[in-house]
């Protein structure tokens, strides 16, 4: 899959047009500009999934003020670019997180806070949390700490912005490429109970969909 930033078809058309008119470089410059703007306007969906959510208010309010870097909180996943998974995920939360992530528009990114999503963390022997988040969802940036200080969270933002600016391969592209792999893992650990299932035909629901 092409890593085009305007969506694949439009991207190809634009490129052709630029090349026809002898402006091959313009396309690159445009893409760079788009990347820069994208890196400076990251909208974060307001979903505190774990302990790390307690460091979100200081990060987003006046003391550390992530807004000066263009990182702003929004209410719904439809408007968001980034979801911060702030800590351990219980199986019940993972179902909601997968749904929230799939509702987000591309390009979308995932940042994890704390040790728990990396290798289980404090709850490594707990029966209700997942241990390796990158089996189920593609992670762009992991920040360690229990919990990470606002400084560490901002470091995570800086790293994410750098990656966007350099046009490195983002998590959502991996998710599209290895969709079967991620779905298989999700089904294995969630026992097939992903409600509503990803294949749900929303326009021809036969039995009442369970929300």
């Amino acid at each position: 899959m092409e890593s085009g930033f305007y969506g694949s078809s439009l991207d190809g058309n634009l490129k052709c047009k630029f090349e026809e008119s002898g402006l091959a470089n313009t396309h690159e410059i445009m893409e760079k500009a788009v990347r820069w703007f994208r890196s400076r306007s990251i909208f974060v969906v307001a979903y505190g999934t774990g302990c790390g959510a307690i460091e979100m208010p200081p990060t987003f309010t006046s003391r550390y003020d992530a807004e000066r870097m263009g990182v702003v909180g929004v209410a719904t996943p439809r408007q968001a670019d980034l979801i911060i998974l702030s800590g351990y995920l219980a199986y019940k939360t993972l179902r909601r997180v997968i749904r929230t992530y799939e509702q987000m528009q591309k390009p979308r990114y995932i940042m994890t806070l704390g040790s728990c999503p990396i290798n289980g963390g404090m709850y490594w022997d707990s029966y209700n949390t997942i241990k390796k988040l990158d089996d189920y969802l593609p992670i762009d940036v992991s920040v360690t700490g229990c919990m990470p200080r606002p400084e560490a969270v901002i470091d995570g933002f800086v790293l994410l912005q750098e990656r966007i600016r350099n046009g490195e391969k983002a998590g959502w592209e991996k998710y599209d490429e290895n969709f079967e792999f991620y779905k298989e893992n999700q089904k294995r650990v969630l026992g097939g109970h992903i409600d509503p299932s990803y294949e749900t035909d929303w326009y021809n629901l036969k039995s009442g969909g369970k929300a």
């Binding site: 990396i118 940036v141 360690t144 229990c146 470091d155």
Partner: protein, 136 residues
């Protein structure tokens, strides 16, 4: 209905804060001083580490592995091993530093690490003698 005059006017006093000094820390440029006792990342003085694995034993998160260092630092090291910490497990409770018999394992006040690959969180404690001091 009576109008609550005080309730309407008193919130306007917030305008006065326009003239106060801003409290924001512009972090990546200006860094806050983190006190020395802060429980940040691990440092280990390899010249005094005796490889006793007390830290491995007390860690309830099973975060510490004993591995061979690249060369021998301390001839008195009983097992020839030094601790390596999995930052996908650690909770910075500092029990490992409390039980360390020679006091070689300590917690630094550096505490930020972000990486794009979740496999990169096995942390080798830096070989520092004291907090904030480079080893020779």
């Amino acid at each position: 209905m009576a109008i609550d005059v005080k309730g309407v006017l008193s919130p306007l006093s917030a305008i006065g804060t326009l003239f106060e000094h801003p409290r924001t820390l512009t972090y990546p440029e200006v860094k806050k001083d983190i006190p020395i006792g802060y429980r940040g990342f691990h440092i280990n003085n390899l010249e005094t580490c005796v490889g006793c694995a007390s830290c491995e034993e007390i860690c309830m998160n099973d975060a510490i592995d004993m591995i061979h260092p690249d060369r021998e630092y301390n001839v008195k090291n009983t097992s020839g091993c030094i601790p390596r910490i999995d930052y996908g497990r650690c909770c910075w409770c500092s029990l490992c530093t409390d039980v360390c018999p020679p006091g070689s394992l300590k917690l630094d006040n550096i505490c930020t690490h972000a990486d794009c690959d979740p496999d990169n969180f096995l942390y080798m404690p830096k070989n520092h003698k004291n907090i904030g001091e480079e080893a020779s």
